[in-house]
C-alpha cells in the first residue's frame, strides 16, 4: 500500500467528520420534552396538555428541605437563619418556611369587587353576626390591623377570600416556622422561572448547604433535601457517575481486549471509525428527515449502533497474514452485508410504526448501521492494512462440549419457562417502576408534602369547556359535590379555582343579592343597636355595596393581576380554543375510601384523573407499540433471511439464536425486575442486531476450522466488550439503566452461546 494514501484518506475522514459535526452544531435541534416522544393519541389530548402544563410548572422543580436531629428551638433557629440568609442571595428563588407574608400587590381590584367574590349574608341576622365577630376581633387586639377596614366591610370579605389559600396542615403550631414534632423543620424552595435547568437546582442546593453550615448547626443536625428538583439532580448525579465510570472503563477495556486479541492497541482506533462515522451520519439523517432529534433517540440509538463496532472486528479477525485488508473485506462482505443490511432494514421498518419516537429510532439505527457497514467495507481497508498485526486466534472445537451444551439448553428452557413462572408480572408500566427514587425517599417526600398541606400530586379533577363561564359554573357544581369528601374526612380540603374566580353567573347572582341602598341602610341601623358601633359607622360600606350593584363583574384578566393571579393560573389553563379547570385536593386520608366514594359518585368520577395511572397507561401504550416494533423487526429479519437463504433449516439455524437471545434477555429482565417495561424492549433491539451478527459469523465458519476460529475470535471480542460494558449499567440503581443492562447482558450471552451451539449442530 502506498504510504501517503492512508494519510490522505485520514485527512478526508477528518474533513468529513468535521463537516458533519459543523452541520450538527448549527442545525441539530435536540428536543428533550418527553411528551414529544410518547404516542399522542387524540383521546389523550387533554391529558397531554395537562401533563405538559403540570410538568412545566415550578412544581416540577421544587425542593423540600427537612432539618432534623436537634431540639425544636435549635431547628427553628436554623430554619429562620437559612431563610433569612438565603433570601438575600437569590431573588429568583423563593424559600418558604412558614414565616412569609402574603404579597398584596394589586389587591385593590379585590377590595373593589369583594362583594362579588364571596358569599355574603345581607340579612339583619347576618350583619349582626358579622358585627359581633368584629367586636370580638377588636377586643383581641386586632384593632390596629382591621380597625379601618371594618367601616367599609364589616364582613371582612377579602380576608375570607384569602382564607381559601390557607391549606390544612399537620404542623405543630407552637412554632413560628413549619415544624412537626416527629419530622423537624420543613422548608420549601420554588423557582420563579417555570423552566429551570438542573444546574440551577444543583447550585441552589449547594448554596443552601453552605448557608446551613455557616449557621453553626449542632453536630447531630442534618439538612436533607427531597422533592422533584432534588430527585432530578440526584438522578443526574447517579447517571453522571455511571457515565464517568464508563468513560474510563470503555477505552481501557477496548485497549486491553485489542492488546490481548490482536497484540495491538492501535487497532482499537480503526475499530472506532465506522461507529463514529455511523453515529454522526445517523444524527444528520434523522435531523434532515424529522427536523429534530429526540434526546432519548440519541441515547438509545447509540446503544443500538453498538453492533457497528463488530464490523471492523470481524474484518480484522478474518484477515490472513500477507492478505490485503481490502481482500479480506471483499471475502467476508456477503456475511457482513447480510447481517448489516438485514438489521438496518428491520430497524428502518420502525419508520412506519406510526409513533414518532420509534420512527426516529429506526431511521437513526438503520442509517447508522448502513454507514458503519459501508465504511468498514470500502473505507477502512484504505486507511490501514493492519501492518504486522496478527490476531491471537484461539483453538476451539466447532462443536460445543457436552457440558456446555447441557448448560445452554437448560438456560434456554429456563428462558422459555420464566415468562410462565413470572406470569403475574409480565409488564410493569407503573411510573414508580421507572423512578430512580427509593421507596423510603418517596415516603419521606409524601410525608413532608402532607405536613405542610401540599396538594395531592396524583389525584386531580379536570373539566374542559370552550366557554369559560360554562366551565366555571361546572367547576362550582363539582366543588359542591366534592365538599362531601371533606365532610366525610376523606380529604382535608378541596381547591377549586372558583374560590378565587367565581363564574360570571355566580358573581351576577351575588350582585343581585346586594340590597338596595335604603334597604341596606335600614338593616345596618337595626344591626348596630346594642353594639358599641355608632349609627353612621358603616356609611362607607353602604356606599360600596351600592357601587358593587352597578359595577362590572371581575374578569379573568383582572384576577390575574391581583394577588390571586398565581393561584388562578394554576387552576385554569387555556389550551387553544378550550379551557381546562383543575380542581385539586389535599390531605387524602384513605385512597381506598376515595376510590369507593368516586365509584358511588359517577357524576364526579368522570372528571377524576389519576395522573400516576394515566402516565402508566401512556407508558403501557408506548410499551405495546415498542413490543409491536420488536416483533415486526424479528419478523422482517426472519423473512429477509429466508428470502436470502431459500432454505428453511439454514434460515432457522441463522435466526434461532436471535430469538433465543431475545427470550433470554427478557427472561433476565423478568427475573431481576418487577416486570418488563419499555426500556427492556428498547434494549432488545441491540440484542437482535448483535445476536444476528453472531449467528451469521458462527455459521460462516461451519466446516472450516480456521474460519470458525476467526469468527469465534471476532465474536468473543464483541461479546466480552459488550457484556462488560452493560454489566455496569445492570448494576446501576437507576431502573432504566439496570433494565437495559440486564436484558443486554443476558441476551448477548445467550445469543453467543446458542449461536455457537446451533452452528455445531449437523
Amino acid at each position: 500500500m502506498n504510504k501517503t494514501k492512508p494519510i490522505i484518506f485520514h485527512v478526508i475522514w477528518f474533513a468529513a467528520v468535521t463537516l458533519l459535526s459543523i452541520y450538527l452544531v448549527f442545525n441539530l435541534h435536540t428536543i428533550t420534552d418527553i411528551k414529544q416522544f410518547i404516542p399522542a393519541d387524540k383521546e389523550d389530548s387533554t391529558f397531554h396538555t395537562l401533563q405538559s402544563e403540570l410538568l412545566s410548572r415550578s412544581e416540577s422543580s421544587s425542593i423540600l428541605l427537612n432539618i432534623h436531629g436537634a431540639n425544636a428551638e435549635e431547628l427553628v433557629r436554623l430554619s429562620r437563619g437559612l431563610r433569612a440568609e438565603f433570601t438575600e442571595t437569590d431573588s429568583n428563588v423563593i424559600l418558604q418556611n412558614g414565616e412569609e407574608s402574603f404579597d398584596t400587590t394589586g389587591i385593590e381590584i379585590l377590595n373593589e369587587k369583594r362583594f362579588l367574590l364571596v358569599d355574603t349574608d345581607w340579612s339583619v341576622e347576618g350583619l349582626k353576626q358579622a358585627l359581633k365577630q368584629r367586636i370580638s376581633d377588636l377586643r383581641h387586639g386586632q384593632g390596629p390591623v382591621i380597625g379601618q377596614l371594618i367601616k367599609s366591610d364589616p364582613y371582612l370579605s377579602v380576608k375570607k377570600y384569602f382564607q381559601s389559600i390557607e391549606r390544612p396542615t399537620t404542623l405543630d403550631k407552637q412554632y413560628p416556622v413549619w415544624y412537626a414534632h416527629d419530622t423537624g423543620a420543613i422548608l420549601r424552595v420554588d423557582f420563579r422561572n417555570e423552566d429551570v435547568d438542573l444546574d440551577t437546582i444543583e447550585q441552589t442546593q449547594e448554596i443552601l448547604n453552605s448557608i446551613f453550615q455557616e449557621l453553626s448547626p449542632p453536630e447531630s443536625a442534618r439538612l436533607e433535601m427531597t422533592g422533584p428538583g432534588a430527585i432530578a439532580v440526584a438522578t443526574r448525579e447517579e447517571i453522571r457517575t455511571v457515565t464517568q465510570r464508563l468513560s474510563w472503563v470503555v477505552p481501557l477495556l477496548l485497549l486491553l481486549v485489542f492488546w490481548i486479541a490482536y497484540r495491538s492497541v492501535f487497532l482499537a482506533w480503526y475499530a472506532g471509525i465506522p461507529l463514529v462515522t455511523g453515529a454522526l451520519v445517523a444524527l444528520v439523517v434523522t435531523q434532515v428527515v424529522f427536523a429534530n432529534v429526540h434526546g432519548v433517540v440519541i441515547a438509545f440509538g447509540i446503544t443500538m449502533l453498538g453492533v457497528a463496532l463488530d464490523y471492523p472486528v470481524h474484518l480484522f479477525s478474518h484477515k490472513y497474514p500477507d492478505e490485503a485488508l481490502r481482500t479480506s473485506a471483499s471475502r467476508i462482505w456477503p456475511v457482513l452485508r447480510l447481517g448489516g443490511f438485514s438489521s438496518a432494514g428491520a430497524f428502518l421498518v420502525l419508520l412506519f410504526s406510526g409513533f414518532e419516537g420509534l420512527s426516529q429510532l429506526g431511521v437513526y439505527a438503520g442509517s447508522g448501521l448502513i454507514t458503519a457497514l459501508l465504511v468498514t467495507r470500502y473505507f477502512l481497508p484504505v486507511l490501514t492494512n493492519m501492518g504486522n498485526v496478527k490476531p491471537r486466534l484461539f483453538v476451539l472445537h466447532q462443536n460445543m462440549p457436552m457440558s456446555y451444551t447441557i448448560i445452554i439448553l437448560m438456560l434456554i428452557v429456563i428462558s422459555v419457562l420464566v415468562p410462565w413462572i413470572q406470569r403475574d408480572i409480565h409488564w410493569n408500566d407503573s411510573v414508580d417502576a421507572l423512578s430512580p427514587v427509593s421507596q423510603e425517599k418517596k415516603k419521606q417526600d409524601a410525608k413532608l408534602r402532607d405536613i405542610i398541606g401540599g396538594m395531592e400530586v396524583s389525584d386531580i379533577f379536570v373539566l374542559e369547556d370552550a366557554d369559560l363561564n360554562r366551565l366555571l359554573v361546572s367547576t362550582e357544581q363539582l366543588s359542591e359535590n366534592l365538599s362531601d369528601l371533606v365532610n366525610e374526612g376523606i380529604v382535608s380540603a378541596v381547591f377549586p379555582v372558583t374560590d378565587f374566580l367565581p363564574s360570571a353567573t355566580k358573581q351576577k347572582a351575588r350582585q343581585k343579592a346586594i340590597p338596595q341602598s335604603q334597604e341596606l341602610q335600614q338593616r345596618v341601623r337595626y344591626s348596630v343597636e346594642n353594639t358599641p358601633f355608632n349609627k353612621s359607622a358603616f356609611q362607607e360600606f353602604i356606599e360600596l355595596a351600592e357601587k358593587a350593584k352597578q359595577q362590572d363583574i371581575i374578569s379573568y384578566e383582572e384576577i390575574l393581576r391581583s394577588p390571586a393571579g398565581p393561584i388562578v393560573r394554576q387552576g385554569l389553563i387555556k389550551t387553544g380554543d378550550s379551557w381546562l379547570s383543575v380542581v385539586r385536593v389535599s390531605g387524602l386520608s384513605s385512597p381506598e375510601r376515595f376510590t369507593d366514594w368516586l365509584d358511588e359518585n359517577p357524576n364526579v368520577k368522570k372528571y377524576h384523573i389519576n395522573i400516576r395511572e394515566q402516565v402508566s397507561n401512556l407508558f403501557g401504550k408506548y410499551r405495546e407499540r415498542t413490543l409491536s416494533g420488536v416483533i415486526l423487526v424479528l419478523i422482517i429479519l426472519a423473512v429477509i433471511v429466508f428470502v436470502y437463504c431459500r432454505n428453511f433449516i439454514t434460515s432457522l439455524r441463522l435466526i434461532s439464536p436471535v430469538f433465543i437471545g431475545v427470550a433470554g434477555g427478557l427472561a433476565a429482565g423478568l427475573l431481576v425486575g418487577q416486570g418488563l417495561n419499555i426500556f427492556h424492549l428498547m434494549a432488545v433491539f441491540l440484542v437482535i442486531g448483535m445476536g444476528f451478527d453472531y449467528s451469521l459469523f458462527f455459521n460462516h465458519g461451519r466446516g472450516n476450522k480456521d474460519v470458525f476460529s476467526r469468527s469465534f475470535h471476532a465474536i468473543s471480542i464483541s461479546a466480552v466488550t459488550t457484556v462488560t460494558l452493560f454489566i455496569f449499567l445492570a448494576l446501576s440503581p437507576i431502573p432504566v439503566l439496570s433494565a437495559m443492562g440486564s436484558v443486554i447482558v443476558a441476551g448477548i450471552l445467550l445469543s453467543f452461546a446458542s449461536a455457537w451451539l446451533v452452528a455445531g449442530l449437523d
Binding site: I135, G141, P144, G147, Q148, I150, K173, Q174, P176
Partner: protein, 188 residues
C-alpha cells in the same frame, strides 16, 4: 446677639437634660428583668360610641419575651418572641410577623424596648420627646414618632406614660385617629 447665645445654650441644656432623664428612666424600668402586671386594653375609634375594652395579665422577661394574656371578655394569649407573635385563641393558633404589620408592631416594639431599656433600638426606630407630667418629676411621658416612611403612614405617634421606674400606659395614636391604649398596673 448675646440673647441668641443664651437661647441656644438653654436649648442645648434642655436636650442634654432630656437625654439624661430618658437614660435614667430607662435604667430604672429595665432594672426589673422580669415583670408581671395587669393590663386593660382599650380600642377607641370615631365609628364607636363607646370604647372596646379587654383585661388581662402582662408578663415580660428580659431580654425579649412578652406575653399578653387576655382574660375577659374572651380569653386569648399573645406571645411575642423576637419578630413573631403567636396568637392562641381557643383551638386556633397562628403566628404573625411583626415586620409585616407595622401598625401592630410599633406599639409592641416601643413597649419592649422600654422594658429592655434599649436606648439604641429606640433611637433607630423613633424620634422622641421626653417630658415630666407634674412638678414632682415622678410622672413622665415619652412621645415616640416612627422614623420609617411606611410606619409613619400608619402610626402618628406613641405616648408612653410612667411613674418613676414603672410603665403606666402605652397609647398608640394612628394616622386614622384610631387610638389603642394599654394601661398597665404592675403587681406588687
Amino acid at each position: 446677639m448675646s440673647r441668641l447665645w443664651f437661647l441656644i445654650l438653654i436649648a442645648s441644656f434642655s436636650c442634654l437634660a432630656q437625654a439624661d432623664f430618658l437614660d435614667r428612666r430607662l435604667g430604672e424600668i429595665s432594672a426589673q428583668t422580669e415583670m408581671t402586671a395587669e393590663f386593660t386594653d382599650i380600642w377607641r375609634a370615631e365609628y364607636l360610641d363607646e370604647d372596646v375594652v379587654s383585661h388581662g395579665k402582662l408578663y415580660f422577661k428580659s431580654p425579649d419575651l412578652l406575653i399578653k394574656e387576655v382574660i375577659s371578655p374572651e380569653p386569648a394569649t399573645y406571645t411575642v418572641s423576637g419578630e413573631s407573635v403567636k396568637v392562641e385563641q381557643g383551638e386556633t393558633v397562628k403566628h404573625i410577623q411583626l415586620s409585616d404589620h407595622p401598625e401592630l408592631g410599633m406599639g409592641i416594639y416601643a413597649l419592649r424596648m422600654l422594658l429592655q431599656g434599649n436606648r439604641k433600638g429606640l433611637d433607630r426606630m423613633f424620634l422622641y420627646q421626653f417630658r415630666h407630667s407634674d412638678n414632682s418629676f415622678e410622672s413622665w411621658v415619652i412621645e415616640l414618632f416612627p422614623k420609617s416612611t411606611y410606619s409613619k403612614e400608619k402610626v402618628r405617634k406613641i405616648e408612653v406614660a410612667g411613674e418613676k421606674g414603672e410603665l403606666r400606659e402605652v397609647k398608640v395614636i394612628y394616622t386614622s385617629a384610631d387610638v389603642y391604649i394599654t394601661r398597665i398596673k404592675a403587681n406588687e
